[in-house]
């Protein structure tokens, strides 16, 4: 059984991080260059970590499967990044951001981690502004803010609807600077396919060059995974097509525990599905909820009527009705489930009945069309490209879609997994968002981990490792891991079945969406737990992967990733089945209040479930880390 020590420092909440930083072990500056650190992934967390560690003098090797670090999917985040700057003088503070995040996560996050996140949020904005990130400004030249889903203060910084892009390009510029200076060795088109564990410590990775097909061993003193989330297990999501769980999944199979895999976020405002060929769901930024009003017809029979012909009296602005104090700005899980309930009642709009209206007519009356265009023009353009409809003239149709995964590899306060030497940052870890993430918090966490946490905490581990003690790539463990990768590649290419990889991915996605999506039940999850292994068995018997392993082979890449999703999906259902309560994004229909809100069971489930791999076809072990709420009271989350 894995040892899960959260290593949260003692003392008052607000002093923990400050004190920890002064007590942490340091690596002598002259010794730093003797340590090699592998960073996998170059989104916000990975780029920020690779750049910052190289600045400190460590030798860093950074691996990305993209052709450039600038392509990582952090780039697609639209809305903004939270920081407790209180530039608006509206009562914000580190404590309030901490409290909102803890509450938003439905009391399933680790208090100390979240407080640290809120503390360093202010440094992130400073850092990014200094890098030249062109944040939105007021006419006085100072930074502009807006309020964002689930917050009652204006603490969100933004760069039009492209905040993730600008923050990632900032981190990419810092990384590029260190690549140019020789501090980071960058490996593009390089996919990590296994983790190498020597004497219980993570000491290297196995990488396939996606262009040449060559498989190489890389050793290091520490390995950092910043490879993002696993929402593509649902096939249709707002993730990039290439986003995958392979790095964290293969680390799991080497012994790293997987925390709360069932916590997934379904974002309320996405463009509905249009057909079976669909490869991707497009998000419409949550910021639209600041000015748009969400409604469905009061009467079922009006659901196919032209929305502009439905009189005001026949519209149900259901979020404003059910949640009068937060209205259209209530948290994502709450808004998504409400949309589902409306559609379940038969009042969903569009041909499929899986949609609700997001209406800007009041905003246009108030601000004029040009005012709305200034705020949301690019989003209205995206909507028009995809649907051929103008949201200036008719309400947008939106529906929830998979957007983020709060679960991920288990880490302690230092962001180190239960495997010493393996650190996990950003969306790839489980730590800060509990069972639900608030809007504009993902960018904050990725950059917090990369710029302001790992540069301190990695030294705590490295100081205990003798310089130059990293094992050679000729070690047996490296050979075995490489053999593992080669064998899997060979096996995938040799099945020569009849179905392309995409068909299995779609079928898995349908199972996951149906049974492990917005609402989950015991019988549904039990059914999924029969269907997924059967699908996996069929995959390994009947998948068709054309081409060879010695060139660029996108089918082979996808096959490996889908093979992992077929295992991870099962773990997610298992976790969802075991967690007999509802919390945040995890909604078990058996556990709800009369009004349909989440009914938590703090007594039995006030803990993190950290799953430990036990081998193929053996049930994994469910370890727990109790969540001790010392400073906040676990209460019923209410947005009414």
């Amino acid at each position: 059984m894995a040892k899960l020590e959260a290593k949260v420092p003692s003392g008052p909440l607000a002093d923990k991080w400050r004190r920890h930083k002064t007590e942490i072990k340091l690596v002598n500056p002259a010794n730093k260059r003797k340590y090699e650190i592998i960073v996998v992934g170059a989104g916000l967390a990975g780029s920020a970590a690779a750049a910052s560690l190289a600045e400190l003098g460590y030798k860093v090797r950074c691996f990305v499967f993209h052709d450039s670090p600038r392509r990582a999917h952090s780039i697609a985040a639209q809305g903004g990044i939270n920081a407790a700057k209180n530039y608006q003088n509206d009562g914000d503070s580190v404590h309030r951001l901490f409290y909102d995040t803890i509450k938003g996560g439905d009391y399933r996050a680790r208090e100390a981690n979240v407080h640290r996140l809120a503390e360093v949020s202010v440094n992130i904005i400073d850092q990014c502004a200094a890098q030249g990130v062109p944040f939105a400004r007021e006419y006085d030249g100072l930074l502009a803010n807006r309020s964002f889903g689930g917050a009652q203060v204006s603490r969100t910084f933004y760069a039009r609807g492209q905040t993730g892009q600008q923050l990632l390009l900032g981190a990419y510029s810092a990384l590029s600077r260190m690549v140019g200076a020789g501090g980071v060795e960058l490996h593009t088109d390089s996919e990590m396919l296994d983790l190498v564990v020597v004497n219980g410590h993570a000491k290297g990775i196995i990488v396939r060059d996606l262009v040449t097909g060559v498989i190489r061993r890389h050793n290091a003193d520490a390995v950092i995974l910043a490879t993002g989330g696993y929402g593509n297990v649902f096939n249709l999501s707002t993730y990039a097509r290439g986003s995958n769980a392979t790095a964290i999944w293969r680390a799991y199979k080497r012994g790293a525990c997987f925390g709360n895999p069932c916590y997934t976020q379904i974002h309320p405002t996405c463009i509905p599905v249009s057909g079976d060929y669909q490869s991707k769901l497009t998000l419409m930024s949550e910021s639209l909820r600041n000015d748009g009003r969400i409604w469905v017809p009061k009467k079922k029979e009006n659901r196919l009527k032209k929305p502009t012909d439905i009189p005001e009296a026949d519209r149900d602005y259901y979020l404003e009705r059910i949640y009068p104090s937060f209205g259209n700005l209530c948290p994502r899980d709450v808004a998504s489930r409400a949309a589902k309930r409306m559609c379940d009642e038969g009042r969903g709009v569009g041909e499929s009945g899986l949609g609700v209206y997001l209406d800007f007519s009041d905003a246009i009356k108030r601000l004029g069309e040009s005012g709305v265009r200034e705020r949301y023009g690019n989003l209205f353009d995206i909507y028009h490209e995809i649907t051929a409809e103008s949201a200036y003239q008719t309400p947008m149709r939106i529906f929830p879609a998979v957007h983020y995964t709060m679960g991920g590899l288990w880490v302690d306060y230092n962001l180190m997994s239960n495997l010493p030497g393996l650190f996990v940052l950003g969306e790839a870890n489980f730590s800060d968002h509990g069972a639900n993430r608030l809007g504009a918090s993902a960018l904050m966490q990725g950059l917090a981990d990369g710029y302001f946490v790992i540069p301190y905490t990695v030294s705590d581990y490295l100081a205990g490792q003798k310089p130059g003690s990293r094992p050679s790539i000729d070690n047996a463990e490296f050979a075995q891991a490489e053999e593992n990768v080669t064998a899997m590649t060979k096996r995938l290419l040799s099945i020569n079945g009849k179905e392309p990889v995409s068909h299995f991915h779609k079928r898995l996605g349908r199972i996951m969406w149906e049974f492990c999506g917005m609402a989950r039940t015991k019988p549904g999850l039990e059914l999924a737990l029969q269907q997924i292994p059967a699908l996996r068995e069929e995959f390994w018997r009947n998948v068709k992967v054309p081409g060879s392993a010695a060139t660029l082979n996108q089918s082979l890449e996808q096959a490996g990733r889908v093979a992992d999703f077929l295992e991870l999906g099962e773990l997610m259902c298992r976790d969802a089945l075991t967690r007999e309560e509802s919390c945040g994004g995890h909604f078990r229909e058996e556990h709800q209040y009369e009004d349909g809100e989440c009914k938590r069971d703090d007594e039995k489930f006030g803990h993190v479930a950290a799953w430990e791999y036990q081998g193929e076809d053996v049930a994994p072990l469910r370890n727990t880390e109790p969540l001790n709420y010392e400073f906040t009271k676990m209460s019923v989350r209410s947005y009414k």
Binding site: R71, A76, R137, G141, D276, E351, I382, F452, K544
Partner: protein
């Protein structure tokens, strides 16, 4: 999930696609008929469907670069009917929908062609030259942790907005593919202008433009002859005015370097 608008009429097109097994292999166009094309399908989704068909027939699928499929990562890179990113305006290939085409169309699909973007396979090219230009100077040198309070450096709103117009570049390389000289001036100018417009970018402004232009020339991109095909195909509609701005910065920087340019190359002057 259920189809949203199944009643739309389906149609048929022929994809004429550049196939090339590797950098040193010879390439050719191959026709692939596609039926049951929905107008609501994206162009890349049609490629997915065609590729699944090829896979089942035991033929190798068409390699094409793609990732976010929402026009922001800059990975997708097809020249469609002779125009980088196809017939749309201000969009990347992934944002092109089949409603832009009609029944019976033959659609010609090629990779982004430029000497500095060597071909990898089929429609995939190597655009790492862009990364090398960024590594030469596309940054503000600020160490993590060394930043002053963000509001201690006010930025006039107009400057911030103009900087954002430039910073919106997704690094796709369409500008290069469209240019008859395969020049990267719009790409480099966008980065130089973004950072040069911000007060934070002033200390390194001269050094940056000289280094980035030098790296651009070394990567084998051509010179600019002011045809502006770059801005015409840019998915983010970045204006060629930034090229003029970069040229001014470049000349000023050369001048200040006491007539001793860091590179003997003439690149950069438009």
């Amino acid at each position: 999930m259920v189809s949203e608008r199944s009643s739309k009429e389906f149609f048929a097109v022929t994809l004429r696609v550049w196939r090339q097994a590797g950098p040193s292999a010879s390439g050719r166009f191959v026709d692939y008929p596609a039926t049951n094309v929905s107008p609501d399908m994206s162009f890349l989704e049609l490629l997915d469907v065609v590729n699944d068909g090829l896979t089942v027939k035991d033929e190798e699928p068409i390699a094409f670069a793609h990732d976010c499929r929402e026009g922001i990562c800059g990975t997708c890179s097809c020249t469609i009917n002779g125009k980088p990113h196809g017939p749309g305006h201000g969009i990347a290939t992934c944002q092109l929908y089949m409603r832009s085409f009609k029944d019976g169309d033959t659609i010609i699909v090629e990779p982004f062609r430029a000497r500095a973007f060597p071909l990898v396979k089929d429609l995939v090219t190597d655009r790492s030259a862009f990364d090398r230009i960024q590594q030469a100077g596309g940054f503000i040198s600020v160490r993590t942790g060394a930043a002053p309070d963000a509001n201690s450096i006010p930025v006039p709103k107009d400057d911030a907005d103009l900087a954002m117009d430039a910073a919106t570049c997704i690094g796709c390389g369409a500008c290069v593919a469209a240019c008859k000289n395969a020049s990267a001036m719009l790409f480099v100018a966008a980065k130089v202008s973004h950072l040069g417009l911000m007060p934070q970018g002033q200390p390194e402004r001269d050094k940056r433009v000289l280094a980035m232009v030098q790296a651009m020339d070394e990567a084998g991109f051509g010179n600019c002859t002011n045809q502006y095909e770059c801005s015409a195909v840019c998915p983010k509609l970045i204006t060629h005015d930034f090229i003029a701005r970069m040229n001014r910065d470049y000349v000023k920087a050369l001048f200040k370097a006491k007539f001793k340019p860091v590179s003997s190359a003439s690149g950069g002057a438009g």
